[in-house]
């Protein structure tokens, strides 16, 4: 029977002032000597063990962005002029105006490392965390997406990670009743020990319902509601426990958290009911750093201070010490600031939804965050110093010396022989269709509920997901999440821009207008100057491109230290683009078009295969320069499709695998055939497999072809009819090869199940 925390001697502010010289385990907590020194200066004494716990976790890389901050500032500095941005970087998530008084908030966040240790729970709690971020803005979550990266398809550990992660994303999202409307799934050796699980959530609200994370109004109550607090994700602080307490020391603390989607569903419904009844002055989700983060951020964003009575926090594990309670990352918890006059109504709603809620403190007119443990004052700090004035590193960065060699290794025909005959090209296409990265995603996406809520207009395997925001006006939003890590490995600046370019295009081909951006920057160790350079380049590239496209970065997340030993993952800046579609009934998709329609190729094709799907599948080659970034061409493509959306019968973007894969996907999706005549000025292989940007295939009735050409000409966009839709069910490339839908479907459908078998 371990003694409960309350009976232990606690390290108080009084004690800290008295024996100011006591040695503390700041290093074990990941603080640097100078950081510990700064804490002592801020407080004019040594921190108590509780304060030390708070600072150490809030000043960690994960919470303070100390390595990335100096670079992320560019998203603000280079922010494009736009009236759409209602709330920008710095809040739980950004908010954009989508018209008719509707606001939409969206953000992507990573849960990479936990998803390797315990794939199901790691992925599940990743979804749970981002949904609470969206909820905390005042929005009803309306959809989720997931961008996944796994190791080699044939590695023995891959099925464990894929199976667990996919079941976890589905298990949590399905149980919350949020439609999954798209994402990514990529296999590459570089992610073997470092799978990436990036989850995105979108929420919608009326402008006037936007809520912010701030604690204002002295006398207002601080309420913690949702799950009880357990020892989740606090392995680190146990050193404190053993240090500050004589007794047997604390019980083992779990490294992995288990999610409770049912509790989160109750949390969503009860929080939305509170918003509706206008009972909430300020609100914050509890995620990384738990109570330390929520209390210090709320207090520091507000106009006063805060007093917390920590012993009131409902516990799942009575042996937790105050330090551990402050740092616990137990899931499915929220914190609200509520006026005393509203507290009864607030509690009634919690009772109705059977959600545990406890007043654990109040807003004060001081400028301090004070935490009490029974009658002892154990934390007394200026909240801003915890939440916002964390250390900022100017980490050294340098262009890696190996990059020149890599960029010089262009996949020339000599280095990477290309298929020459029609038969060879047919085989190349079949190989791509059966590859881990370009085959049907159905094994994954069929485990996600796409229909719940009844507003899903487009979802997997469409180019972008679309959800209806307003049933009466038919207004909706489109979202796409994209990245090609190989491009990042060849040139991180261009790689980030190409990720944006692709996401922008995927949104545009639905007829929606791209509006704003969120991003999740997955990189290796910032302590490696080469990796730090890749990071800096990627941020610079993304910021520059967002400025040019007029789509502001509204928020996102950074995940560093994704590496095993000294090999880092490819720079993987996953970019999410959100667009608006004023009438979802006008949306375009790959589905549509009938026999006799003209098949039209929009955009210009160059000889660009470096980093592309064919060269990596056929030759495992990674070298050369990625496709040329051409953002004005992307804008021209978007404008052309938007202008023609009234008469186009279908549209599909061209990216991984080039024209060949795009054509195959159209045939497979529509069970029709196409007769294609390739442009003559290019060699057939380039025409089929190049991955030049700013291209799309559209179908259009013969009568409207001229109108389309006119619309493209107006934008200075190349536009050429390359074939016609037939009812043959065969993909015909004149003079080269033809493949039936069935020939293509079998390898395409077999690949993922084979990996998982």
């Amino acid at each position: 029977m371990s003694t409960t925390a309350s009976t232990r001697t606690v390290d108080t502010v009084e004690r800290a002032t008295a024996d100011s010289q006591a040695t503390q385990p700041w290093a074990e907590l990941g603080l640097k000597a100078d950081e510990y020194q700064r804490i002592r200066e801020i407080l004019n004494r040594r921190p108590t063990s509780a304060e030390l716990a708070m600072y150490s976790v809030m000043w960690s890389e994960h919470c303070s962005y100390k390595s990335s901050k100096v670079h992320l500032r560019q998203f603000g500095v280079k922010q494009p002029q736009t009236d759409a941005l209602l709330v920008g970087i710095g809040e739980n998530a950004g908010v954009v105006d989508v018209g008719d008084g509707w606001a939409v908030t969206f953000k992507v966040e990573s849960h990479n490392h936990p998803s390797y240790i315990e794939p199901y729970q790691g992925a599940a709690t990743g979804v749970g965390g981002i949904v609470r971020d969206i909820l905390a803005m005042g929005a009803r979550p309306i959809a989720v997406m997931d961008s996944l990266r796994f190791g080699a398809p044939d590695h023995p550990d891959t099925p464990r990670v894929v199976g667990g992660v996919v079941a976890g994303v589905g298990g949590y999202g399905n149980c919350l009743g949020l439609p999954n409307i798209g994402g990514e799934a990529v296999f590459d050796d570089c992610y073997q020990g470092n799978p990436l699980v990036n989850a995105l959530c979108v929420g919608a609200m009326r402008h006037e319902d936007i809520h912010l994370a701030k604690a204002s109004g002295a006398g207002n109550l601080v309420v913690l509601y949702g799950a009880r607090t357990g020892g989740d994700g606090i392995g680190g602080v146990s050193v404190l426990a053993s240090e500050s307490f004589d007794s047997t020391g604390p019980a083992k603390r779990p490294a992995v958290q288990v999610g409770d989607p049912f509790m989160e569903k109750l949390l969503i419904e009860c929080t939305l009911a509170m918003f509706k009844a206008e009972l909430v002055e300020g609100i914050q989700d509890l995620g990384g750093a738990g109570l330390s983060c929520a209390t210090s951020e709320l207090a520091s964003n507000g106009d006063g201070g805060m007093r917390i009575h920590l012993e009131r926090v409902p516990l799942r594990d009575a042996t937790l010490t105050p330090e551990e309670i402050l740092m616990s990352e137990s899931q499915e918890r929220m914190m609200a600031v509520v006026a005393p006059a509203n507290i009864d109504a607030f509690m009634d709603i919690c009772r109705r939804w059977d959600v545990l809620a406890t007043v654990i403190g109040e807003v004060t007119d001081s400028d301090r965050l004070q935490v009490w443990w029974h009658d002892d004052l154990i934390v007394d700090v200026p909240p801003r110093t915890v939440a916002h004035d964390g250390p900022v590193y100017e980490r050294p960065f340098a262009r890696p010396d190996w990059l020149d060699a890599r960029q010089a290794a262009e996949p020339t025909p000599q280095l990477c022989p290309r298929p020459a005959t029609g038969a060879d090209m047919a085989d190349a296409l079949l190989t791509l269709l059966g590859s881990a990265n370009l085959s049907s995603r159905e094994w994954i996406t069929s485990q996600y509920d796409r229909y719940v809520l009844g507003n899903t207009i487009l979802a997997m395997p469409d180019d972008a997901g679309i959800v209806r925001v307003d049933e009466s006006t038919h207004r909706g939003i489109a979202v796409s999440l994209d990245c090609n890590g190989r491009f990042g490995a060849l040139d991180p600046y261009a790689g980030a821009q190409l990720a944006l370019s692709e996401a922008y295009r995927n949104v545009a081909v639905t007829g929606a207008m791209p509006l704003a951006v969120t991003d999740c920057l997955n990189f290796g160790s910032p302590e490696d100057p080469g990796v730090m350079w890749q990071f800096a380049e990627a941020v610079r590239g993304l910021a520059d491109a967002c400025l040019e496209l007029g789509t502001p970065v509204t928020g996102g997340n950074v995940s560093l230290y994704n590496q095993t030993a000294d090999t880092a993952i490819h720079p993987t800046p996953v970019v999410g683009v959100l667009g608006v579609i004023d009438d979802v009934r006008t949306r375009l998709s790959i589905k549509g078009g009938r026999a006799g329609d003209a098949l039209v190729l929009l955009g210009q094709t160059r000889d660009e295969i470096a980093g592309g799907a064919w060269v990596s599948t056929a030759h495992g080659h990674l070298g050369g320069m990625p496709p040329k970034v051409d953002l004005s061409a992307e804008q021209a493509l978007a404008a052309t499709i938007h202008a023609s959306r009234g008469f186009l019968t279908s549209a599909h973007d061209i990216s991984d695998g080039g024209l060949a894969i795009a054509l195959a996907e159209m045939v497979l999706r529509n069970d029709y055939g196409v007769d294609v005549t390739l442009p003559v000025e290019l060699d057939a292989f380039t025409a089929l497999f190049s991955e030049s940007v700013a291209r799309a295939l559209v179908t259009v009735a013969a009568a409207d072809v001229d109108a389309l050409h006119a619309a493209a000409a107006k934008q200075g966009l190349q536009c050429r009819t390359v074939g016609t839709v037939t009812d043959s069910g065969v993909l015909v490339i004149d003079g080269l090869f033809h493949l039936t839908a069935e020939q293509m479907r079998s390898p395409w459908q077999a690949a993922l199940p084979a990996i998982m078998a």
């Binding site: 315990e118 019980a251 083992k252 779990p254 409770d260 049912f262 799942r316």
Partner: protein
Amino acid sequence: MARIVVTVMLKPEILDPQGAAVRGALGRLGLTGVTDVRQGKQFVIDIDGDLDSQREQLLQKLAGELLANPVIEDFRIEEEQ
């Protein structure tokens, strides 16, 4: 022929939403004084012949890799008579 029973339980410090749901339901249905409920899995494995030490070892290993994830779960192996 031997029958081996492998019981897998979430570690005590790990949240057990399933157990919590059952505890709530038992309470609502009038069973008083329930202080905790944990829900686990049980695998009943029938094997030809008897469990020689080599197969026993392999089973030990597989229980910790396939049937349970030691990061969040404990497991127990018993041979039924």
